[in-house]
């Protein structure tokens, strides 16, 4: 007979239904997608936050340590950075549906967890203020020299506050759009300037020695600590398990892109010039000239970078507001956005006297101990605690049977 047996027919029908259900997205799912944060959106959030720093600062900072080996330092950071991303995302997978305070308390206990949450909340505020100040200095230096910095800080804070008061999924959608713009601009600049790259500028490999290379690597790793913005957003994830993967992937991709940017900057400008340039990628973009028509695309790059910075500040602002609202037991995070905005303007103005002091603040000697203690160490301990406590919770829920 050769026909399909009944069990096999049933299996085929079930398979068909499963395929249909994968194809079909119900409106409820579409709405959920609109209200919850997907792994894809988290990936773009993390990549955008990271790329903003990679584009603007890191080639210089890393180059000053690793010289022409900066691109190797970026590549070498791929695996540890991905591990850090995964560790930061891990507690969300272990304790789904909990935010910063919930995860911290579940992992460390009530009071230690509250202290950890407070440490991160302070970190979010300082990071947001630093980004605000960083962007303000760039704007005042390059575009509006006669405008008082406090005006620019206030305007950017309002912009970031409007974004931060939205739901997390809206922030995710913003990240997809703006992150796409940032990546697109980087890729376009790299593509257009590629004929100018001189491989001689990247040679010889290892010229700065192990000490310089490791120092550069440390600088790259320090700045990977930006992924901590994820903790307060974890309870909005559509799929809790997607958090660690998205962060790890973003860390790996940003390392590869960072390596490419560093290689282009050194390959075009030479290591000496790249180190001394304030923003090497923008310097590179200024050299682009296609048929004497496509010129001065550094303005486009700066614009895209500015968009990324606003997104970056908004994300940390949003994280701070969500964490604070959770700590205070408020029903909506937007209730604390305005008061936090006032604090942010004050902190942003007080965080540094000028751009020179800002640059000192970003030095590896200052940042490395902070990042090592509060991010690398704490995040690793947190992931381990979540693994231990989460396992115990799961076992307790499973019961003796």
């Amino acid at each position: 007979m050769g026909g399909v047996g009944q069990p096999e027919a049933a299996r085929l029908v079930t398979g068909l239904r499963q395929r249909r259900s994968r194809v079909r997205m119900t409106l409820a799912e579409a709405r959920r997608l609109g209200q919850r944060l997907s792994g894809y959106q988290l990936f773009w959030m993390a990549l955008s936050v990271r790329l903003v720093t990679v584009v603007a600062l890191l080639p210089t900072l890393t180059g000053s340590r690793a010289g022409r080996d900066a691109w190797i330092a970026f590549l070498a950071a791929t695996v540890p950075a991905a591990a850090l991303g995964w560790a930061i995302g891990y507690p969300s997978a272990r304790f789904p549906g909990r935010g910063l305070v919930g995860q911290a308390r579940a992992s460390f206990g009530l009071w230690p967890g509250t202290v950890v949450a407070l440490v991160y909340l302070a970190g979010y505020l300082i990071t947001t203020a630093t980004i605000l100040r960083e962007y303000t200095d760039a704007i005042v230096t390059a575009i509006l020299p006669t405008t008082p910095p406090v005006v620019v800080v206030s305007i950017i804070t309002v912009l970031a506050g409007v974004a931060a008061s939205q739901e997390t999924a809206a922030m995710g959608r913003l990240a997809v759009l703006l992150g796409g713009v940032v990546v697109f601009s980087v890729v376009i600049i790299g593509g257009l300037i590629s004929p100018e790259i001189r491989l001689d500028n990247l040679m010889p490999v290892g010229s700065t020695g192990w000490r310089g290379f490791l120092s550069g690597l440390l600088m790259v790793l320090v700045w990977h600590s930006q992924y901590v913005f994820f903790y307060p957003l974890a309870d909005t994830m559509a799929e809790p398990g997607a958090g660690p993967k998205a962060l790890a992937l973003a860390a790996a991709v940003s390392s590869v892109l960072g390596s490419a940017i560093a290689a282009v900057a050194v390959g075009v400008l030479t290591a000496e010039l790249a180190v001394n340039a304030s923003f090497p990628l923008f310097e590179v973009a200024r050299l682009v000239s296609v048929g004497e028509f496509v010129q001065r695309i550094d303005a486009v790059a700066v614009g895209a970078w500015g968009l990324g910075l606003v997104l970056s500040a908004s994300l940390f602002y949003h994280a701070a507001a969500r964490g604070m609202a959770e700590l205070l037991g408020l029903p909506q995070h937007r209730l604390v956005v305005k008061p936090m905005g006032v604090i942010l303007v004050v902190v942003a103005m007080a965080v540094a006297e000028d751009s020179i002091e800002m640059r000192r603040f970003t030095d590896v000697k200052v940042l490395a101990p902070i990042a090592a203690a509060f991010v690398w160490l704490l995040a690793s301990v947190w992931a381990a605690a979540a693994w231990l406590r989460g396992g115990a919770t799961a076992a307790a829920q499973k019961g003796p049977g």
Partner: protein
Amino acid sequence: MLFLKGMADTRVIARNVVRPLVLGLPLQAGDGGGAGGVFVSQVQAVLDPEEAVLRILDGWTAVVGLPGTGPIWVADTSGRPGRTVEEPQSETGVRVPREGFTEMLETNLALVRTRIRHPHLRVEMRRVGTRSRTRLALIYVEGVAEPDLVQLVRQRLQGVTIDSVLESGYVEEFIEDSPYSPFPQTLRTERPDVVAANVLEGHFAILVDGTPFALIGPVTFWQLLTVEEDYYERFIIGSLLRLLRIGAFLISLMLPGLYVAVTTHHQEMIPTDLLLSIAAAREGVPFPALVEALVMELNFELLREAGLRLPRAVGSAVSIVGALVLGQAAISASLVSPAMVIVVAITAIGSFATPVFSMAIAARIIRFGFVLAAAVMGLFGVQAVAVLVLIHLCALRSFGVPYLAPVAPTVLGDWRDLVLRAPWWAMRGRPRFLGPPDPARRPLAGGAQGLRTGSRAAEGQQV
């Protein structure tokens, strides 16, 4: 016998109601009436006098007091005056059907039904407006539209509590998600083919008696930059025109702001030759670029508004002549520079190329924000307003569907019909973000390969 003269067709009454009654033929309820009854499309027995009054107000004829009968008999004799089906005035095209909606709900429903001859096409009638008692039709295709969506629209329509509904705009403001947003959250159209196409994708449509404008929802940002002709033309042409239109929208939104920012704050960004030309053109103009831009933009908006209110034959002439004469006079008087006139003219063309009127209006409003911010803060101001608009768009929804879908949130499968349009044979599914229960427009088997094989077979037969 009760009817409203003017609303009911007296010839139908005389021939199909009075005559059978005089001849003593039995009055039968039900469609058609049958050979021995009343010869009109619908005859019904109603018990509620208020229901009978509503029918009379709709143009029906009520027969009361027939011997031996209890209820009131109402017969559809409606024949109110109305215009015939004509080409839509606000949505013209080259390769498009010439039929447009009228003010008659029945006619409009027939135009939609003509295009979707399927038993699953659902039309739910209801009345809105406590005094106007306007009839409204909610249209969707069962099995294609997500049931939750239909239920959501029903709930929102129940919230339309107002004494009169004279146009679909009344309903729109009651049912949209964010009333304070400048961006439209429903698509308004005069075209039955647009309604049919959208309903077949899983959207719903609302037709309101007394207006030729239908409402379609949910809509996305990208949908508001497309026209139906994109789908009628070959996909390459349709895609390129769509790209052009998106560019035109961005120009209409940002060009004056960018011009003001660059000429006021960032002259170093302009190539030297161009900068010299602009400087020479602006020589003698006593106002800053901001005032120039505002004067020209307001002038243009005034002309456009005046052109719309005047009779059609005169209106366009006034707009064109007014723009030319005023622009030339303003340049001659050194009130504005030629460069600014060019910028405003290009902006106007971009605005005209934006296919949905309400979207073009949104761009017009936001454009002033860009100009003001650019004048104060240069490109930083432009960037600030752009970020604000983006944040708003990211947070906006239309009937629960994110406004920027399928880009953000990303639904890659729906990108076949986004900025570019894939050929029809490659667009197998309906938009996934609408959650259609039946996601497939065409079966998986016999796709492009099948089509091509079929064409070859046909060629073989011809040979």
